[in-house]
């Protein structure tokens, strides 16, 4: 859960934050994969999206996949694959490609978009030369990117967690009540456990409320 977030993407915007702070979820909402539970997203017509992990078992060839994606978008082919140094067969099933080359195909389809790019850890699996080339490809583009490794030093940075306290809970009850508390930035629940990211100045109140509700606190850091 992300709350009270207003984000206007102009030029390059980099999302940072610890694991579980909602970067991938926010990117999916921005791209149009997920709907926000409240609030609204205004996005241009042509959005390119690269997920965190491109699937490795695709039977279609890279050339066929990119041709189809180009037709779906009504976009002309680009030279992104060449610029990123794709090596391998364009006509073999993508399941036979290395992780890095599959990522280059994922990036090439995203760059077919004319308006905005939404990229989740796009450097995953890329060799250093391709990583550098991706930085130059992103110059002058409008893009929302999650970036753990600091490739885009000059971009506007948005830290989803900021200074934060992470509370790990088990035997969670009253999750809705916790989510509604002031200062709660994200809640990631898994079965009866949950990770709650809280603003530092509100952590005591959230902790007290969790204990009052009957949750067990595993860790606070």
């Amino acid at each position: 859960m992300l709350r009270d977030l207003t984000l206007e993407v102009s030029g390059l915007v980099v999302l940072t934050g610890a694991n579980g702070t909602g970067k991938s979820t926010l990117l999916k909402i921005a791209a149009g994969v997920l709907k926000p539970s409240t609030g609204r997203v205004v996005r241009p017509a042509s959005v390119g999206y690269v997920p965190e992990r491109f699937p490795s078992d695709v039977k279609m060839s890279a050339s066929s996949y990119l041709a189809h994606m180009g037709r779906v978008r009504g976009a002309a082919a680009n030279d992104v694959l060449e610029r990123l140094g794709f090596v391998g067969s364009l006509t073999a099933p993508m399941s036979e490609l290395s992780k890095g080359n599959a990522q280059k195909v994922a990036l090439a389809q995203a760059f077919l978009a004319a308006d905005v790019l939404v990229l989740d850890e796009p450097w995953t699996g890329l060799d250093p030369a391709a990583a550098t080339e991706l930085v130059s490809l992103l110059e002058d583009r409008t893009a929302l990117v999650s970036d753990h490794e600091g490739h885009l030093a000059s971009a506007t940075r948005v830290d989803l967690a900021g200074g934060h306290v992470t509370i790990e809970l088990s035997r969670v009850v009253g999750l809705d009540a916790l989510e509604a508390l002031e200062g709660v930035r994200s809640v990631l629940s898994r079965g009866s456990s949950a990770r709650v990211v809280v603003a530092p100045d509100r952590s005591d109140q959230v902790l007290a409320e969790a204990l009052r509700l009957g949750c067990s606190v595993r860790s606070v850091r």
Partner: protein, 210 residues
């Protein structure tokens, strides 16, 4: 939309998971018409009953051909879930119609009883309706309505198995009853309306659930 349909159809054909329902369909169709299957419309009732679960199975194959992550990319590229789910429904209907056509033609060639053009088109219509009902059931319980393939299989299997004993209480029963009594009936048309509504509802439910 056409380019999206072409892409999804190409992905299904490349994935080869369509072969299992197709081969079962062809195998059972061959057995049904291996000997004298009876009067023209009556002979169609077996293959129409068969096409219902096969079309549901094929619809699940089409709906789940792309894995979750690649489907997300397609949704963004196409401009939304509604467009992708509509295209997937069209692909499933196209596959189902191809099988309906085959099932309608098969006994014309193999059955010793002669078929008139009218009987053939009634048979084709009846098969198409059964296929539409199957596609609707398949899509209604496939991703993104149910995320787990196990739940999808159980739900589709459950609905399909329950449909037969309910007889004329279901649109499938209306079609099979008309064919079994060797007559065409308006109820086949109404069952077709239900089939189209079911497929449309599956698309709407999927888009809301996604």
């Amino acid at each position: 939309m056409i380019s999206l349909v072409r892409y999804l159809a190409a992905d299904v054909l490349r994935g080869q998971r369509y072969l299992a329902p197709l081969l079962v369909f062809l195998g059972v169709l061959g057995m049904l018409f291996a000997s004298d299957a009876g009067q023209p419309l009556e002979a169609y009732s077996g293959s129409a009953a068969l096409l219902y679960p096969i079309a549901a199975w094929m619809a699940v194959v089409v709906a789940t051909s792309e894995d979750v992550v690649r489907r997300e990319i397609t949704v963004v590229s196409a401009g939304g879930w509604s467009r992708v789910l509509t295209a997937a429904a069209l692909v499933a209907v196209l596959f189902a119609f191809a099988m309906a056509l085959l099932a309608a033609v098969w006994p014309v060639v193999t059955n010793p009883h002669p078929y008139t053009a009218g009987q053939f088109f009634v048979g084709l219509g009846a098969h198409t309706v059964c296929a539409l009902l199957g596609v609707g059931v398949g899509l209604m319980f496939a991703r993104p309505v149910f995320d787990s393939i196990g739940r999808t299989v159980l739900a589709v299997f459950g609905v399909v198995v329950l449909t037969y004993p309910l007889g004329r209480a279901t649109p499938l029963g209306w079609v099979l009853d008309a064919l079994g009594h060797n007559r065409s009936s308006l109820s086949v048309l109404w069952a077709g309306v239900v089939g189209v509504a079911l497929v449309s509802a599956a698309v709407v439910v999927g888009a809301r659930r996604a």
